[in-house]
Assembly symmetry: C2
Homo-oligomer: 486 residues x 2
Amino acid sequence: MKRVARYEEVSHFDLETDVVVVGFGGAGASAALEAQRAGSNVTVLERSSAGGGSTMMSACEMYLGGSGGTALQKDLGFSDSTENFYAYMKACFGDNVDEARLKLYTEQGPEHFDWCESLGVPYKRGFFPGRDVVAMTGDSLQYTGNERSWPFTEHAEPVPRGHLPADADHNGGQVFMSVLLQRVEESGADIRVDARAMSLLQDDIGRVRGVIAKIDNKPFVIKAGQGVILTAGGFIMNEQMTRQHLPRYYPIDNPHGNSGDMGDGILLGVAAGGHAINMGEAFICVAHYPPPELTFGIFVNNRGQRFINEDIYLARMGHYAMEQPDKQLFMLIDNEHFARPAYQESVDIIAVGESIEEVELDAGFPQGVLQTTVAYYNQHAENGEDPLFNKSREWLKPINTPPFALVSYSLDILKPAIFTLGGLDVLPTGEVLTPDREPIPGLFAAGRTVAGIPRTSKGYASGMSVGDATFFGRRAGQQVASSTRN
Amino acid sequence: MKRVARYEEVSHFDLETDVVVVGFGGAGASAALEAQRAGSNVTVLERSSAGGGSTMMSACEMYLGGSGGTALQKDLGFSDSTENFYAYMKACFGDNVDEARLKLYTEQGPEHFDWCESLGVPYKRGFFPGRDVVAMTGDSLQYTGNERSWPFTEHAEPVPRGHLPADADHNGGQVFMSVLLQRVEESGADIRVDARAMSLLQDDIGRVRGVIAKIDNKPFVIKAGQGVILTAGGFIMNEQMTRQHLPRYYPIDNPHGNSGDMGDGILLGVAAGGHAINMGEAFICVAHYPPPELTFGIFVNNRGQRFINEDIYLARMGHYAMEQPDKQLFMLIDNEHFARPAYQESVDIIAVGESIEEVELDAGFPQGVLQTTVAYYNQHAENGEDPLFNKSREWLKPINTPPFALVSYSLDILKPAIFTLGGLDVLPTGEVLTPDREPIPGLFAAGRTVAGIPRTSKGYASGMSVGDATFFGRRAGQQVASSTRN
């Protein structure tokens, strides 16, 4: 498969337009709308039979804040400075951030939220203070990451930044995308479904000037006078690519995304001279809550050792789960707080007992280790302290109400949801960069096709992908629309 | 920088040859020699001012065996079946292996060793049974990985596979490469130094047909009738690439290799349609031995928890070190076995004491955890057992001779040596593959420019890189020499 073809060899175009957007999910629709509104003629190519992408399948939380706070944050009494937002993100991703990108994102969050509301997406002025992945109360603002957990509390003031469409529960993606797709249609964009971009057209000086697509299985050659935007998602559905780029995550039994996440955008971009980076990193999810009371439990590995403060976000738990021997982890919980986790069907109760000793024996752990771990935990939990891992006082309580259960969250049993966090290296404008970080004229990208804001599960929070995809999708659309027509 | 240029646009060649080899280290020299011996005219381009590459800077151990054993293994009384070798490698790398590549490597090891000896490289019929990275006894055979450690002992019979030039100590690379480079010169190959490959010449059907180089800073266009072999090493010296591809390893204070390991081969290959894979993985080294008696110590993280059997190879320790909180790790050792590690200058004694309690206090560890860890370890070590991590009985002894020292091997202090394990996806013949795993005609690669046999530090053993580079370098040379001239 040849993913780049010579523009000079094309003798006939089936269509001449200004902008081609490859992929009609959150990033692509945002890009298309902004480009069309700025006066460009946009053609959207969607491999699937309808738009929506992985964003439509999500709850459509957006992780937003900064510059004093979004309208939603402010209306609910929260202020969120850019400095505080930035400090939190640095605590999440350390050196693995694109500074320019992060600066823009933490400055322009309020503007982006206003745009979302201006589309007609409803957001309810209600704050959900609980510990859940998605507020089920209809409220639109909540904590979605590690804001209230150690060590993040040492770096930034906790502020809720999860912005969720009103009364949508898990269907926020449906709410948001149905509105956004409608706005794109109304804008006059030319939308083609069952339309897969096969190759980019690149001229002899390296400028990307169009796309060869297959539409309804027929070749279709499109000239894009201003440029092409790649917003075709990640590659979690591409079995060969995940094997080659994400060896640490194997086996990937539960790839999370839509079936078009085949890496098309990344591969097209690389073929035209782009640089795929951060390809070994993915989001991985161990949903050890809700219900929140499960947070009173402790996690141990198969050596009976604790390894993390259990009050963290599920993607961070996924990251640490990967590092445990044999990727095995177990929640020890007492009768008072026992529950089934809402989002993990396949946990397995491997031992129960009236004493920790009995549980340890039943589980086949090396003798004494679990007892020691629990005794140490209980002794300090009694005083509201967790000297080893700094779990928040709110979730500290001695585990001492029998019977006790040891519940396996081992990854071979859980089959955790995974999606990719690597992709093309781009500027905040969406301009695709070569390995020398020179922009490729006429080529743009956004969404999970690029290495964006979230770059490791360790620091991920719900809303970072959709926030990043729509925020930078818009900027790519604006940028291409401001380009000279060729 | 344009790394691929159109062959059809070239009007003049400065040189026409059969084969161009880019990079004159272990892989390139092996490839050049085999191609030249098979009747091809070979031009070698070396970016540096002399050949040798990272192989010349290494001890030039080669990890070899299989098919009953190499001549060296057999002469020293060891037999090594392909099945056993294969089983060991699978235990090292799991699913992250190229099966076809591994099959060939575990079958043809003896032939490769014979070839090394046939060059004139001396190997001494002596077996060094100790625990060291490089035998300092002049002997040529030793254990270099995790063969005698759990869990590898459960998967394969321990066999020594480190093949080291005779009496070379750490200078095996000098011994080996000076011989190999001389053989290449004698073969009549055209060797150009201060010669950097800038772009590949690719024709309109995708075949690679030559190279545009800079030789002594002047452009030099070479036609390669049979093909181009990329053997330009990894990318550990390329600050931007390591930051983008190896975020987990940051900061990389001690990049290990030669200054030409700038990723040239990988980037040229990708520009021509190749696929760079496994780019997030690297070798990382915590040299916690020799001297071997340090293995009687235990390692704990900053929570006072043990995390590994300490009798493992240094690259595996590096892998686990990365996973500890804040990448901190500490060796607790008693007076009887205390020593400075031979290859880590910068360890730091952070606490000493007449009792573990005193050490714990001095180190500022959470109270009681180190005492508990040591008590548990000692109790079982007394019986020659390590229920938690299965350290070999040979290295189990209670830690009870005061004074005790806690020595920091934390990565910010150690600045561990790191080199890259990602690169182009290739067939065992060296043919470079597209993301669809179709060979790119005329393009070959070997050595650290490709994703080869060793793909994670977790299972690495000394000798796997040089073994892989020279073994598959040869095969790439043979393959290109058997190609039709274009």
